[in-house]
């Protein structure tokens, strides 16, 4: 259920970001399906491969896509479990995404270009710095509910005996801030990185895929969108209502995805990219938000 919804929302996620940006800057802008059309065009094209690169470079986009795709199978939909669900599945979820990044990084190094090496280096560092935030957040939510899989955590988050719904929503809000920024970091958007500056020295993700073209580039673009929708799906799970009508929850899901995408768009319109050397601080700030969740949970369950 949630898998299909994630796939659906991934189709227009980047489109909404671009649309928000164009509205805010007073341009007419492309329609929300424009990125999808771009991807379709790319998928039809042939590729140019660097003579330096090896099979790693050709394999990496496939791995990147597969890991994110497999990770999407984990996301539950309110009280319906995800296609894959078992205890501590979030560990596998995080490590699957890491596997995709691993291949992206080595593919960037495979081209032997100094720009791509630069991007790879930053990506490796930032993803390492972002790791604690995810684990602390999920750990705290698990502590709050007493469960240890995505499905159990999310399905019981509002019905825990120890916490009133208000607190659950407050913590959910904090957690969604964490997921929101994690999505931004993972996709290298403003304020960590600006995909629109075409100055290689300041880019992270975009500079890693300078040499990708055709099918590979299309796959990478789509995977980026899918990754956003993935985190959007996680956020939506924090706010589902327990209602007999799935329609309401589907509406919540989509409106949160749209909200997420437009937030990204708004942030991109009104904020400048941070200086490169400030990025680590920014990423660690998210970890501190997640620590706040942890302490909040500790207070709620009465251990402090």
């Amino acid at each position: 259920m949630s898998f299909i919804l994630i796939i659906l929302s991934s189709l227009f996620f980047t489109g909404i970001i671009n649309r928000t940006k164009s509205i805010l800057s007073g341009r007419k802008g492309p329609g929300i399906f424009q990125p999808l059309r771009d991807i379709r065009r790319l998928l039809k094209k042939g590729s140019v491969y660097s003579e330096t690169s090896s099979f790693i470079f050709k394999l990496a986009p496939a791995v990147y896509f597969s890991t994110v795709f497999a990770a999407a199978l984990f996301i539950p939909f309110g009280e319906n479990r995800g296609l894959i669900s078992f205890q501590f599945d979030f560990v596998l979820f995080a490590y699957l995404l890491a596997l995709g990044k691993f291949f992206n990084i080595i593919a960037a190094l495979d081209t032997g270009s100094s720009f791509e090496g630069m991007g790879a280096s930053r990506e490796a560092l930032y993803s390492m710095l972002a790791e604690p935030a995810f684990f602390i957040t999920i750990g705290s939510l698990g502590l709050l509910t007493g469960y240890s899989s995505f499905y159990q955590i999310f399905s019981s988050i509002h019905y825990s005996e120890s916490a009133s719904p208000a607190i659950a929503y407050a913590l959910g809000l904090l957690a969604s801030i964490v997921f929101l920024f994690l999505g931004i970091i993972e996709n290298s958007r403003v304020p960590v990185d600006d995909p629109k500056t075409h100055l290689e020295l300041t880019m992270v993700h975009e500079v890693m895929i300078l040499d990708n073209s055709g099918f590979d580039l299309g796959v990478i673009f789509y995977t980026g969108s899918l990754k956003f929708a993935l985190y959007g799906g996680l956020i939506a799970n924090l706010f589902f209502l327990s209602s007999p009508y799935a329609v309401i929850n589907i509406l919540i899901f989509f409106s949160l995805q749209v909200l997420y995408a437009s937030t990204v768009g708004i942030v991109e319109s009104f904020m400048a990219r941070l200086r490169m050397n400030q990025n680590p601080q920014f990423i660690l700030m998210i970890s501190s938000v997640s620590l706040l969740i942890f302490i909040g949970v500790m207070i709620v369950i009465g251990k402090i």
Binding site: E51, S54, L59, P61, Y95, L143, P280
Partner: protein, 653 residues
Amino acid sequence: MKNRNGLILIFLTLALGAATSFVAFNALMGRNFEFVLSGNTILGQIPIRIDALSAWMILIINFTFTTGVLYGTGYLRNYNTSANLKLHQFLFFVLHLSMILVCSIQNFIAFLIVWEIMTVSSFLLIIFEYWKKETIKAGLNFFIQSHIGVLFIIVSFIWVMSQTGLADFNAVRLFATHQPGAVAITLFVLLFIGFGFKAGFVPFHTWLPYAHPAAPSHISGMMSGVIIKLGIYGILRMLLLINSNYIVIGEIILFVSVFSGLYGVILAIVQHNLKRLLAYHSIENIGIIGIGIGIGTIGLGLKNDFLAVAGFAGGLLHILNHSLFKSLLFYGAGSIYQQTHTLEIEQLGGLIKRMPRTAVLFLIAAIAICGLPPLNGFISEYLIFSGLYSSLKSNSFAFSLFMLSVFVALAVIGGLAMLCFTKAFGIVFLGTERKQYHVEPKEVSRMMLFPQYMAAVMIISIGLFPQLFLQLLKNPVALFVPDILNSSNGIFSYQSGILTQIGFIGIILTVLVFVVYEIKTLTGRNKINSVSPTWGCGYKTNDPRLQYTASSFVKTYSNLIEPILSMHKDVAVVNEIFPGNKQYSTHYYDKLEFYLIDKNLKWLKKLLLKLNFLQNGRTQFYILYGLIFILLIIFISYGEYIWNTIKGFFKLF
């Protein structure tokens, strides 16, 4: 001639491996092997016991030695010094035998003897290239530090023996149960330090980064793969015997392990030498194993079976996993060294085109060591994660916070390992070549590749079918947590069910990657695909010097981490109008090594220099020293008697 010796060694290793594996496998399945040698008056009875824990270690040792002997025979083919080679092969067998004995002998003195044989033979194996100064230096460093470790083990063994009068390992149990808790903990700490030197826990790790690069690659593989694990074996064995105060002991282990894990990987990233990098990674992995054992021990203390099973199963499985991927990585490094004669990461590059098989094998091991699915490293880390996560729900805030920080530390270790191995693999194998070779590097011989395939197959099969290997761990874990043998206790089948799913997802992922890749190649057939130089932002010369180097890859990181590291920079200042060639170099040094080893060595040297007059080369003096020594011994052993006589003498008045 040379070949024959190699074949004999292979045969002997396989024979020993097969014989002991048979016994070990039976023990692993629950039929323990026990045999008591009558021994003599000094040693006492020598029990040879192979229980599931010993069996697990013996099987790991046998597998690693099998790959090691095959790889080593291929690797050493280029060395022509035949006498040296024969000694090397002989010692290799001695090392194998002594390690198996270490795992099975349970008599204090006999254990120390085989432990010594192991240390000495590995020392001699390390200094195979004895004509190099660094090799000898590294070897001596290892030798001395091992003996400091042994000192701690001897002291604690003597302590136990003097209190119980027994030389059997079971005396430790007797000792620990009859003494107050603080004494048992002190004993454990002594033993932990002793075995910790072998295992390479921080701060007893400083020999590792020297010894591994100095040794020939198959020996580095053995050292990192199994020798340091015997330190872990010692700790586990003692843990079984000292069965009290588990919570405190567990917290000690956990604290040291987290520190080792973080410190190891933090330093690994900035290394310029491939084998040194791998050596620091061994410290990190020992840390991960230790985290598993630590939470397992805490689980025992809290009577939380789930925690204990997750911890011990994760730790024990990680011992196997690390022995597989680390030996594979060292074999890969050895192949690189054999073909290019350098291990400096900054000078290597583009080897994937010259040595494609080595590159793929190295990549598999690199993914596995980062703990990424679908390979084996993930399985053991998952088990440890599951334990840590369930331990968050404790009653005390401080304990939860401690566990949360371990939880986060493990995640950070994983992230840092990824940074480290993207660097190691990416810079060494990918991109363009950074250096002209006198002899073109080419793929290594089949003899060297075959054992690497063996290890890789194991890595993949543990990753995809983890539940089978978890079943093998049932008896070793049951030594610590006997409850799980009850059929009503579902923890093991529960974890095994989850692991089945993880393995299944691994298979799905592999299929998915294959499908996407196939779609690409199938649809790409009719399109125009072309090959051209890498996008150079307008620059056309494809100069290898334009590539990102290993140092620049980790530059942002090393700036962040600089306060922890001690870094020496040689920066050339440009102040002329037409500057000549300038050099910039960075050297990283282990801060702990500086404070703990180098500084202390300095004053020790000063002190010893003052005693220099004792060594004056005159035979008469040396005889005098001997005499004084004998008199002292007599005096000490009869001290009490003499003291009583004197007292009695004074009482007369």
